[in-house]
Structures are given as C-alpha cells and as structure tokens.
C-alpha cells in the first residue's frame, strides 16, 4: 500500500501543468470558465492540440496511436490536471468508443481507413444504439440490415443520438437476422452519414439545448465491407465496448473541480452576517458529497490498479457509473440550491455568456446544467440496469 507519487510522477505532473500553461488556448479557456457551450471547431482544435502532444487517445495501444505509453498513474495525473484546468471534455464517440472496436475487431483495411482520421479529429462519429422501443432493453433493437449483393440495405430509427447533427459517420447496432435469442442476430455496422436515406431530426431537451437527435434510416445502402467482425457478433462487440472504457467513467477529476468551485462560490454568497458556506445545513451537504466523492475516487483507483495487474474489469464499472452519475447530479443540484432565486432566470445556450443575464455572472448555465444532467442516470445503461448488473454479476442474485 502506498499513496505517494514517485519523483517521475511528480515531474510528469509538472510537464502537464506547463503544457496547459503554454498550450491551452485562452479563447477556449475563457468560454470554458464561463460555461459557454463550445463550437465544434473549438473542440476539434483542442483535441488536435492534445493529440500533437500524445495525450488524446491515451488508452489506445501505442501501435495505433503512435504515442509514448503512459502508466496508470500518469493517466490519472493527466486527467486530473486537464479537469482541474477545466479543459474541454473530449468527444468520446470516435476516440473512446468506435476506435477500440475497430482496432480490436476490424480488418486491416478498416483500421487503415478510420483510425488516422479519428486520431486527428478529422472525422466525427456518433453512436447508433438506442431506438424508440429499445432503451434499457437494447437487444430488442429493430433496425434492420439486409444483405443484397454486396450491400446492406438499412431501415430503422435510432434515437438519443448525441451530436448526430455534427457527425460524419455513425456506428450502429443493426439486426441482420431474426434469431430466437435476440442478441444473436445483431451486427455492428459503420455508416457514412452522407449516404442518401439518412435524416437527422433534433430532439430538444428540458434545458432548451439541442444535443441529441433522432436518426432515420430509409433504405440506406451500406457497403458490405463496413461490417465489423462477423454477422451476429454485434452484441459481443457492444458488451466489449461497455466493459472497455472504464477509465474516467465516473468523471472524478471534473467532480473534484466542481466541488471546489462550489465551495469557493458559496463562500461569497452572503447569508445574514456570514456566508452560505458557513451555514451548517449547506456545509454538511457539501461535506457529505466530498466524502462520497473521495470514496468513489478510491474505488476507481482500486479498480484501475487491479486492471493494471492484469485483472479483468467486470461489473465494477457499474459501481463507478452509479456513484459517478449520482455525484454529478448531487453537485449540479447544490449549485442550483446555492443560487436561490437566481437559479430561476432562464436563458438559451446562445444567450449564456451575454451581457443580458441577471444575477451573479456564473448563474445562467447552472439551472440548464442541473436539468440536462438528469440524463446521466438514464443514459449508458440506466442506474436501475447497472444495479441489476451488480446484483447478478457480483452478488450472484
């Protein structure tokens, strides 16, 4: 047992800090600090900066990324410093989700075609999993892909597709066969979003933002070589993907930053003759959250340590998903509570950061964030489903 960082870890941290001092663009930083939503171009610009330093696709095998391998501790330090500086969250669909599938199951041609453009952030991906009738029960999906000569003809509807309005490609789970066991007829297909027959319609969420979409596929022709792995292997690939990307799943580093910010801001909110932070009720909520956050951080570290010694990650990721999302929601709720009445004035995305807002200058994005984050206990396998996973896989119930 040892909680201290080695000298080389400490010097790595210095390297990250000085990289951020020099390379984090001030225009992006300013928007991030004001919680103004970024444009696609700004996210791409930042991802390219990270990539040039070899700190973007840090979980890829180095043969595909061309990076210098980072240790588990270095990855932890990197993520912590990136979050501390409030750098933009990288978009996971290409780099974190589709790419691991391609380098694990794809052909040489597929790797050569897709990996470099993902690494460079030149091609944006979105994820075609959920359907209107298939949420928690993902395997019941109905989008059909029929092989006619050398093409699949795809018909169906995908929903909750994040950032589909900006995406160049979509990776989809499709049904290639009707089988008695529904999981066995599912395949993993890559589709170019510019193919005729694809229509993207926005879904506006309760925070007034346009983040998710419906994607309609009407006789979309997809070349046979866009199939990943074998027909019917899609469900196993999807399961691999769910178990694969666990590093940072709980978003601990960002939560630590937000909790610290909450303390700072609430110490500036007057309450009678003191501050809100000095109020015993508010204070104890912050401290309870901090304890839960520390516990989750060390649960994650234990999981990562076990993995680095060859342990296979299992249902532990479900613990991190549940605890991480609960913390995200609690902290977003405490921000709302902190603001009192000034959480109520409501502005749309494009108004946030303008001079027209009232109340403290950080107030406008707080309520939309709280509302938007009701999604985190629903998406990526709802927290009810995650508890089912734990009860079955860990407790053996």
């Amino acid at each position: 047992m040892d909680l201290t960082f080695s000298d080389s870890d400490l010097s790595f941290r210095k390297e990250v800090v000085s990289f951020l001092d020099n390379e984090y663009p001030t225009d992006i930083k300013e928007k991030q600090d004001k919680r103004i939503p970024l444009e696609k171009e700004e996210i791409i610009r930042w991802q390219k900066i990270l990539h040039n330093k070899g700190w973007f696709a840090i979980n890829w095998p180095t043969e595909f990324s061309g990076y210098k391998e980072l240790s588990v501790t270095e990855k932890y330090i990197l993520q912590e410093e990136l979050a501390k500086a409030n750098t933009p969250t990288t978009i996971p669909f290409g780099m974190g989700m589709c790419a691991p599938v391609i380098y694990s199951f794809g052909t040489e041609d597929q790797k050569e075609k897709h990996l470099p453009s993902i690494l460079n952030s030149d091609i944006w991906w979105c994820q075609g999993y959920s359907e209107p009738g298939s949420g928690s029960d993902l395997a019941s999906l109905k989008t059909k892909a029929e092989l006619v000569d050398d093409k699949y003809i795809v018909n169906g509807t995908k929903t909750w597709t994040t950032l589909a309005q900006h995406a160049d490609w979509i990776f989809c789970l499709v049904r290639t066969e009707t089988t008695p066991i529904k999981q066995e007829g599912i395949s993993f297909l890559l589709i170019d979003m510019s193919t005729p027959g694809i229509e993207v319609k926005p879904i506006i969420t309760i925070d007034g933002s346009h983040e998710v979409n419906m994607v309609y596929l009407d006789n979309v022709e997809v070349p046979k070589e866009n199939l990943i792995g074998e027909e019917g292997q899609g469900w196993n690939i999807a399961k691999f993907l769910l178990a694969h990307e666990r590093s940072g799943i709980a978003g601990i580093a960002a939560l630590k930053r937000e909790l610290k910010r909450l303390k700072e801001l609430s110490s500036e909110i007057p309450l009678g003759e003191g501050s809100l932070l000095e109020d015993s009720q508010f204070r104890s909520k912050i401290e309870e959250t901090e304890i839960e956050l520390t516990a989750t951080e060390f649960t994650e570290l234990r999981t990562l340590a076990a993995m680095s010694q060859g342990g296979s990650p299992g249902a532990e990721s479900s613990i991190l998903k549940i605890k991480g999302t609960e913390l995200q929601q609690t902290i977003s709720e405490l921000f709302v509570e902190m603001l009192g009445y000034y959480a109520h004035p409501f502005y749309l995305e494009n108004e946030i950061g303008s001079n027209e807002t009232v109340g403290p200058d950080y107030a406008a994005p707080v309520m939309p964030h709280y509302l938007n984050y009701r999604k985190v206990s629903i998406y990526g396998g709802s927290n009810e489903i995650q508890r089912n996973v734990i009860s079955k896989a860990i407790l053996g119930l």
Partner: protein, 375 residues
C-alpha cells in the same frame, strides 16, 4: 374534525377543474407560456368573470369573502394544469395584503381593478443578498418633504413584466437585518427612476429585476404603518406558501399518475416496466410523498384559517415537506420516463421544472426546517 368541502367550495373546485380540462390542454399551455405576454389575457378575463380573482377578497372591498380554502382548491387545480397565469403573484401575494392593510384610497384605486382583471400586481421583496430572509432589506426609502425617495434593487420579482403596480419592501429605519424599520410601498410600474429587466424563468413564467434610483413616491404610497411592514409581508408570504404548496400538490398528483400510466404501457424485456418491483416501490414512494404533502397542506391551511398559535410552524413544516417531496417526485418522474422524461416535448419535464422553482420560492427545505426549529 372534518375534511370535506362545503357546497360552494366544491363548486369552485369543479369549475376550475373543468376549465383546465376544456381550455387548458398542453399545447395551449405551451403556446401561452411562449407568447410575449407569457400567459393568456383572455384566460385572465375568464378568471375575472367566474369570480376567481376576488374570491379571497373581503366583501367590504368588493370581493366574495372566501377563505384560504378556496384559494387552496384553485391553486391545486392550477398545479394540475401547470397554469401560467399569475394568480399567485397578483391575487395571493399582492391583493390579499392590500385588502387587509391598504388605505381606503389604495383599496379603491387597486382592488376593484384587480378583481375585474384589469390590473396586475407584483410583490418585490427579495434582494440580491437577502436569499429567503424577508427582513434582510437594503433598499432604502427616505422621507423627502411629503414624499419618500426609494433607492435600491429588487431581485426576481415574479410577474414583474405584467405588473401595473409593485409592492416594494424598503428600509425606513434600523439595520440591514432588522424586522423593525421595514415599510411597504405601492409604486406605479412606470414611475420615474424604476428600471425593469425582464426575463423568462425556467418554469415557463416571467419575472423582472428592479433597479430603483431616486424613485419619488407620495407619502400616501405607504401600506400600513411606517417601519411596521415586516409583519404584513410575512403574513402575505405565509398565505402564498399555502397557495404555492397547493399548486405543488396538484403538480405532484399529475406526475405520479402520469408515471404510473407510462410504466403500464412502456415495455422492455417483453414486459411493461411497471411490473418491475424496484419501479413499483419507487412509484409507491412518489404516491406517499404526495399524500403526505396533501395532509400537511390541509392541516396548515386550516390552522392558518383559524389563526392557531402554531400556524406559522405548520406552514414551515409544509414548505419543508413540499421542497423535499417535490424534488423526489419530480426527479423520479423524469427518471422513470427515461429519455422521454428529459425532452422538452413531453410535459413531465415541465412539471419537474415548476416543482424545482416551487422548492425555492419563499424559502427552500433547509430554510424552512430552520424556521420550524426556531418556532
């Protein structure tokens, strides 16, 4: 002990219920909320014609002399329809206060026009530093000959954009947190020196921030006695807590029922999700929270009506429960609706948003727990 309503009360309840069912479908509500005015001018006329606007005003002043039971019934039905018309702001928060404490001149100038639906009011009590403390008042009114000159700032004044007159709390003596030394003024919205910043609020309603710079009002604008405005304000906020809690109870009823219906029809894993025990228990908890709120609502409303010595404590207990339950019921209704729950299209998210603001308005759960302890 009797929890039944009398004939007149039942009639009002039915009338409001029918109005919501016939005239206030979801699309209409959204259209009204998104309009420039933010509510239905025609609906307001209907409220006036049906006598709802004067229901709780004393007969001496031209009202119907009803009790807070009638207000409770109206607000509960409004909660079910997620009504955006500013009944709470103009009627409950403001005109009730004038009915009791206004001068004859103020009453004749205002109350008749309010009952007939021609005038809107707003109560400006919160300030940037005050949070939920009604006696934390920095805005200042100084005597200047026959006039008062008001300087200061009022935050998140609900119904501000539509108000013809504001009731403004200002300090006429004492220190920032003193209860004594606060006075209330009836001020025209177009008075020189008053600048409004209007905005939408997250619950689909409208509010304003008010900047007051050398606003000069005649001494007849004072409501009640000089320096003694706190109790008037406090009583009005207590009535408003009862009203907004009734609204919350109505909203919670819709949410738990809608969620139960949804889980009966939404199928996953080949079965309606309402068959899963974990969700059944969650919905039972939502239902029980609603029932508990309703119980405290009835209790506190009756205590306040009777003028019971522990009425204030009962009201804080109610608001605490409404804050806690409203959050739980709202969040779980969204959760159990899955992705649909976070869409703007479905009404569930909008009920959740209103319950969220209700949780804060007039003091959140923490604030009222503390009040409860101190009383």
């Amino acid at each position: 002990m009797d929890f039944t309503f009398n004939e007149e009360q039942t009639m009002i309840q039915d009338q409001v219920e029918q109005f919501i069912q016939k005239e206030y479908d979801w699309e209409t509500r959204q259209e009204l909320s998104n309009s420039d005015l933010g509510f239905g001018a025609n609906n307001w006329k209907i409220f006036a014609e049906l006598g709802w606007l004067g229901i709780a005003i004393s007969e001496d002043n031209g009202g119907f002399g009803g009790s807070s039971i009638e207000t409770m019934l109206i607000m509960e039905e409004f909660g079910k329809g997620l009504v955006v018309e500013p009944f709470l702001e103009t009627i409950v928060m403001s005109s009730g206060l004038l009915d009791q404490y206004g001068t004859d001149e103020q009453k004749s100038e205002v109350i008749g026009s309010v009952i007939s639906g021609e005038m809107h009011l707003a109560l400006a009590y919160a300030e940037p530093q005050s949070r939920f403390n009604l006696s934390d008042v920095v805005t200042e009114a100084k005597v200047d000959g026959r006039n008062f000159v008001i300087n200061g700032f009022k935050s998140v004044v609900m119904n501000g954009p539509s108000a013809n007159k504001f009731i403004i709390s200002a300090r006429t003596s004492g220190k920032q947190l003193d209860k004594k030394g606060i006075s209330l003024f009836l001020v025209d919205s177009d008075v020189t020196g008053l600048t409004r910043t209007d905005y939408k609020t997250v619950d689909g309603r409208k509010a304003s921030d008010l900047n007051l710079e050398n606003v000069s009002v005649p001494s007849e604008s004072l409501i009640g006695s000089l320096d003694e405005g706190f109790n008037i304000l406090d009583e009005s906020i207590d009535r408003s807590i009862l009203a907004i809690s009734a609204e919350a109870v109505g909203a919670m009823e819709v949410l738990y029922k809608t969620t139960v219906e949804y889980t009966k029809t939404r199928e996953q894993f080949g079965t309606p999700i309402g068959k899963f025990q974990v969700l059944q228990h969650r919905m039972v908890d939502m239902f029980m929270e609603y029932e508990q709120c309703k119980s405290l609502l009835y209790m506190a409303t009756m205590k306040n009506e009777e003028g019971a010595p522990d009425a204030k404590k009962a009201i804080s207990g109610l608001k605490y429960q409404v804050g806690k339950a409203g959050k739980f019921v709202g969040q779980q209704a969204v959760q159990l609706h899955g992705g649909m729950g976070v869409t703007d299209e479905l009404n569930v998210g909008h009920y959740f948003k209103r319950l969220t603001t209700i949780g804060t308005i007039f003091g959140n759960a923490d604030f009222h727990l503390k009040q409860y302890t101190s009383l």
